[in-house]
Amino acid sequence: MNQNTEKLPRLIAFFAVGILFGIIMTKSEAISWFRIYEMFRFESFHMFGIIGTAVVIGAIAMFLMKKSNVKTLRDTAVSYTPMSFSLPRHIIAGTIFGLGWALVGSCPGPMYILLGHGYWMFALVILSAILGTYTYGVIKDKLPH
């Protein structure tokens, strides 16, 4: 059995989880540029509440899944491959990301979801994000890691 490629029924399930994600991000208002602006101005608890709740429940769930040796549908254990620690990389990369996140009011997930809402400017935002990713690939050896 190929561990790396999901067959069609499983891919349909991932598609369904994607739809669920799009609906959640819409109804939670996390795709709103104005919510992100409000978050960075600390004028509402809304976004912090969303992220905080997700992380607390997520951490408990990940802990329990590891502890109980749950096997995933790909027959693997629940694990996380840590990235190699590099303070300058995490801070610089995070800051660059944050500058863009606040400016367009959207991180990658919401970019796609806003496109679904018919905010066509996000087609350009996504294209530019792809170009940014490509640029990283070209110059990555010159950056601190």
């Binding site: 994607g18 208002e29 997520g58 769930a61 660059i96 944050g98 679904g116 690939g137």
Partner: protein, 192 residues
């Protein structure tokens, strides 16, 4: 109030957060880890960037799940805009509405769709400034997420749930950048 009307209301942050955790749990159980920004790298790879640069030489079959997940996100957006549309624009804080005036935004009128999702009076194709900011912001997100090996889903949700110190520091970086943009740069950029 029927079930559709109930879902149509904006969701409480606690319910929203729990539902995002559910997405994390489902993807983990299905043997994958939550992360959206990698889709940009996939698109580079599909476009043939792997021939020029080994960074984009990835096994795309291993990434099919993510591509359909992201396509699902777009469809979720379409459903959110049609069947599950909220009756009122996003209820941001009064203080935020006031400070938006300083940027030249009249909330909620500044979103032409009336949803309170995007300030389309800035971000529309007739406005050169908006186009430039869209390109700049998208580029920074795409570059930063790949350099940092993840975005909000990969670090703030998945990484923090796995208690990763790298993710915590990256998220602190997200906030350093976001605060600089929101408090120092945007007031200059948007009022130029």
């Amino acid at each position: 109030m029927n079930i559709i009307e109930m879902i149509n209301q904006p969701w409480h942050w606690a319910f929203s957060g729990a539902m995002i955790a559910l997405v994390l749990i489902l993807l983990t159980w299905m043997g994958r880890s939550f992360g959206v920004s990698m889709s940009f790298r996939n698109i580079c790879s599909i476009s043939g960037a792997g021939k020029k640069n080994t960074f984009f030489n990835i096994n795309l079959k291993d990434e099919y799940w993510r591509m359909v997940f992201v396509l699902g996100g777009i469809v979720g957006g379409i459903i959110g805009f049609t069947l599950l549309k909220s009756p009122e624009p996003v209820a941001i804080a009064d203080a935020t509405v006031q400070s938006l005036k300083g940027l030249g935004f009249d909330y909620p009128a500044s979103d032409e769709k009336g949803l309170g999702f995007v300030p389309t009076d800035m971000y529309n194709f007739e406005n050169l400034k908006g186009v430039i900011f869209a390109i700049l912001g998208g580029f920074l997100v795409g570059f930063g997420s790949r350099y940092g090996d993840g975005c909000t889903s990969g670090h703030a949700i998945s990484g923090l749930s796995h208690l990763q110190i790298s993710s915590l520091i990256t998220v602190i970086g997200f906030f350093i950048g976001g605060l600089i943009m929101t408090h120092l740069l945007m007031p200059i950029f948007f009022t130029l």
